[in-house]
């Protein structure tokens, strides 16, 4: 029996190895690629994977100097923010109603809302395309952005419902009762008690949706009719079409920094509002 005892440190080793191999090293590699440039062999400082490179920051200036790239960044984040907001507005009432057990006996309704997640993502997007074609929205180019938005919201809705639901279902109903008892009408109770108490769920939902929507170019490719280009798409082009890993890594790094900053700011914001409940706990 003694041989089976591990200290907590020892049990952590596989996870540490995993994290180093699949998170830390790739991140370092991305950073390395972003800050290097392919040069002729005589000017090279070192070689990566048989490619002679030298350090350079020109990748960044190249990226930011092209107005097309800036436009893509704006479109991506615009789309991501709108998707997040629309999803929240749709998902909140759904999660709120589902969290009242009266409507969600045995969690069946919740499962129905989550069920689409178990169907292949590309298939779902293709089905949405057919649906949009059927209602006539796909034929016109002026609907490209809206179509992409619809696809994004549809695909990411379960990721918004889940964290909201799991926070709302845990809020003790005595808080709402106490609020009503103190004279608050149902709307006031919602705005000043239920909504603030569900902030962790909202923050968690935002972090689940904001970054993926900037990069899931399958949706914009399928539904955008070639009119909507998002960051994910240009990263893909750099890596797979242009075979320029340096430029691709640069964009990925820029994206990472922007997302990190926005999460940091939103985390700061909720922490100020409430220290105890404001932790963005991912479900």
């Amino acid at each position: 029996m003694n041989g089976l005892k591990f200290s907590r440190k020892q049990l952590g080793i596989p996870y540490a190895v995993f994290l180093i191999a699949f998170v830390v090293v790739p991140l370092l590699l991305i950073t390395l690629y972003a800050f290097t440039k392919k040069v002729p062999a005589d000017k090279a400082t070192f070689t990566i994977a048989g490619e002679s490179v030298s350090f350079a920051v020109s990748n960044f200036s190249d990226f930011f100097s092209k107005s097309a790239n800036i436009r893509v960044l704006f479109v991506s984040f615009g789309l991501a923010i709108i998707t997040t907001i629309v999803s929240l507005f749709i998902a909140y009432p759904v999660a709120y109603i589902l969290s009242k057990t009266k409507f969600n006996k045995g969690g069946v309704l919740l499962v129905l809302f989550i069920l689409p997640l178990w169907i292949n993502f590309v298939l779902r997007t293709a089905a949405m395309k057919e649906l949009l074609y059927f209602v006539g929205m796909y034929k016109s180019n002026s609907f490209s952005f809206i179509n992409t938005l619809i696809g994004m919201v549809y695909d990411y809705l379960p990721f918004v419902i889940m964290p909201l639901y799991s926070v709302l279902v845990k809020i003790d109903k005595s808080y709402a009762e106490a609020s009503a008892d103190l004279g608050a009408k149902p709307v006031t109770t919602f705005l000043s008690v239920t909504l603030p108490l569900s902030m962790p769920g909202i923050v968690s939902a935002i972090s689940m949706v904001l970054l993926p929507t900037t990069t899931s170019y399958v949706i914009s490719d399928t539904l955008g009719n070639g009119n909507v280009t998002i960051v994910g798409k240009i990263i893909e082009t750099q890596f797979l079409t242009m075979d320029n890993w340096h430029a691709g890594s640069t964009i990925a790094l820029v994206l990472l920094v922007i997302i990190f900053l926005s999460m940091f700011l939103s985390g700061k914001f909720t922490e100020e509002e409430d220290e105890s409940a404001g932790r963005a706990n991912l479900w």
Binding site: A178, A180, L182, G183
Partner: protein, 500 residues
């Protein structure tokens, strides 16, 4: 002082699924009174409180506040505030904002005159300075002056409890409802808070309706106590009334320690229990079966030859102020509380003065059910099928070979599906610690010790029929048991409608 502030008229509450939480609850509470709902968990006391607060709507009955019907009024329109069991302080707000929550929502009527001298009535929110003042006054009331900016999550249980009270009283409600507010506190703090709450209630002059399962708490604080069991009011009265004159064995057992015995009235104001005849003050018909309650502290210890009954002390425990001793009289135990210690093994006599013997009409003398006979002459009742002697339905009759009853007149009677009244004595029921072996089954829902035996109530699963039995053996509440009844102990009588 005695004007009614709230009246509950015939309140009943049935939850989805058919559980009757409260049935036919009638009560009026006077202005400035401290009323306590007391009972074991699940007796409907919290449900009743929630109906007054407006969180539950009664299935039937009316709630009148100052004579106005508020039965269907939502909680936010009622001039009533609640202190919740687990406080329900808003975790995202600090102490100040928690207490000011109600005040910020409040609108008060102000009158002013415009240029033309017309009186304008306006509803205005309280000014910030007024709110500040009220909050600090409420905090002072609960001795937490410096806590305004603190997070509620950083407070101890006792502090949170005080904040919850402050949050409720700051709105100056007409009635303050308290749902077991001291349940989460330790004993010492609970005792302190009991006195503080009572003091606060006196100072503020607010009507308090208090829910607890702690009988001592109820006796300490209340002007009147409502004792409840299974959704029904057992007794309403002052703490003294409830303690000294309990209306039934349940109340006596629930409020304080008591000796409860089965007794029989044997003469004019004479009652026999533990095999001795005692004088009493209550007048019942001779031979009436009664419950006799004697408080342990009312038992006087005398020399063996001077007592009405004598016996040996079998246990003696020091309880601080007094000794708690158990004396055996035959098979019955008598609990005695006295400041004088008697050693285990000593023989003493006891006396009880007649006005300390409380006599109540007996709840059950026998079990009575509606049942029917099946094809094989078994009788069905209480969700079970029992062997029985069906010939008792027709005196002098006998059974033929096919199982039909042949009366003395030679008439052949088919008893299949005939409804009957079934009577079974309490002592004739055998309890089996096994679901399978008996003829009917259920769970034990109540156990009352009656001196030399336990009175057990078994509740069947589906139709919730109660089977009351007397047994010497101790069972546990919620035990799954089945019962057997000897064939000759089942008394059958035909129901009035005997012909189909």
């Amino acid at each position: 002082m005695s004007d009614k502030i709230i009246e509950l008229v015939g309140i009943s509450k049935e939850f989805d699924g058919g559980t009757l939480a409260v049935s036919d609850f009638n009560l009026h509470v006077n202005r400035g009174e401290f009323v306590t709902f007391l009972g074991p968990s699940g007796c409907g006391k919290t449900t009743t409180l929630r109906m007054i607060a407006g969180f539950e709507i009664p299935t039937s009955g009316k709630i009148l506040l100052n004579g106005k019907d508020i039965t269907n009024l939502p909680p936010y329109l009622r001039p009533v505030n609640t202190v919740f069991q687990r406080y329900a302080l808003f975790p995202h707000l600090n102490v100040y904002d928690n207490i000011a929550f109600g005040l910020k929502l409040k609108k008060i009527k102000t009158t002013s005159k415009d240029k033309n001298g017309n009186v304008i009535e306006k509803f205005e929110h309280l000014k910030k300075s007024e709110i500040d003042e009220k909050v600090s006054r409420a905090l002072k009331m609960v001795d937490l002056e410096e806590f305004e900016k603190r997070k509620v999550t950083t407070l101890s249980g006792g502090q949170q409890q005080r904040i919850a009270i402050a949050r409720a009283i700051v709105n100056e409600p007409e009635i303050l409802l308290l749902d077991e507010p001291l349940g989460a506190l330790d004993l010492k703090m609970r005792k302190d808070m009991q006195l503080e709450l009572k003091d606060m209630q006196r100072k503020l002059g607010i009507t308090f309706i208090y829910v607890t399962h702690d009988q001592e708490e109820a006796l300490t604080m209340s002007d009147r106590i409502v004792v409840m069991k299974d959704g029904e009011v057992q007794q309403i009265g002052t703490p003294q009334d409830i303690y000294n004159e309990p209306t039934n064995a349940f109340v006596a057992d629930f409020i304080g320690e008591s000796n409860i015995y089965n007794g029989t009235i044997v003469g004019d104001r004479k009652v026999r229990f533990i095999n001795k005849v005692f004088d009493c003050v209550d007048d019942f018909e001779i031979n009436a079966k009664v419950d006799v309650v004697v408080r342990p502290e009312d038992v006087e210890i005398v020399k063996p030859e001077e007592g009405i009954v004598s016996g040996q002390i079998v246990s003696s425990i020091f309880k601080g102020v007094h000794y708690e001793m158990i004396m055996m009289v035959g098979k019955s135990e008598v609990m005695i509380q006295s400041t004088k210690e008697v050693k285990v093994g000593d023989t003493i006599g006891i006396r009880v003065s007649p006005d300390n013997i409380h006599i109540m009409k007996r709840d059950f003398v026998s079990n009575v059910y509606d049942g029917y006979i099946d094809k094989i002459n078994k009788v069905h009742f209480a969700e079970g099928a029992f062997e029985c002697d069906v010939t008792q339905l027709y005196p002098g009759s006998h059974l033929d070979s096919e199982g039909y009853v042949i009366t003395t007149a030679g008439e052949k009677i088919d008893l299949t599906n005939v409804p009957v009244r079934v009577e079974v004595g309490l002592k004739d029921i055998e309890i089996i610690d096994n679901d399978e072996d008996g003829d009917a089954r259920g769970s034990i829902i109540s156990i009352v010790y009656k001196g030399d035996h336990y009175q057990i109530i078994i509740c069947t699963d589906e139709e919730e029929e109660e089977i009351v039995c007397d047994t010497e053996y101790l069972w546990n509440e919620n035990d799954r048991v089945s019962v057997k009844i000897p064939k000759d102990k089942i008394k059958l009588t035909l129901k009035a409608v005997e012909k189909k």
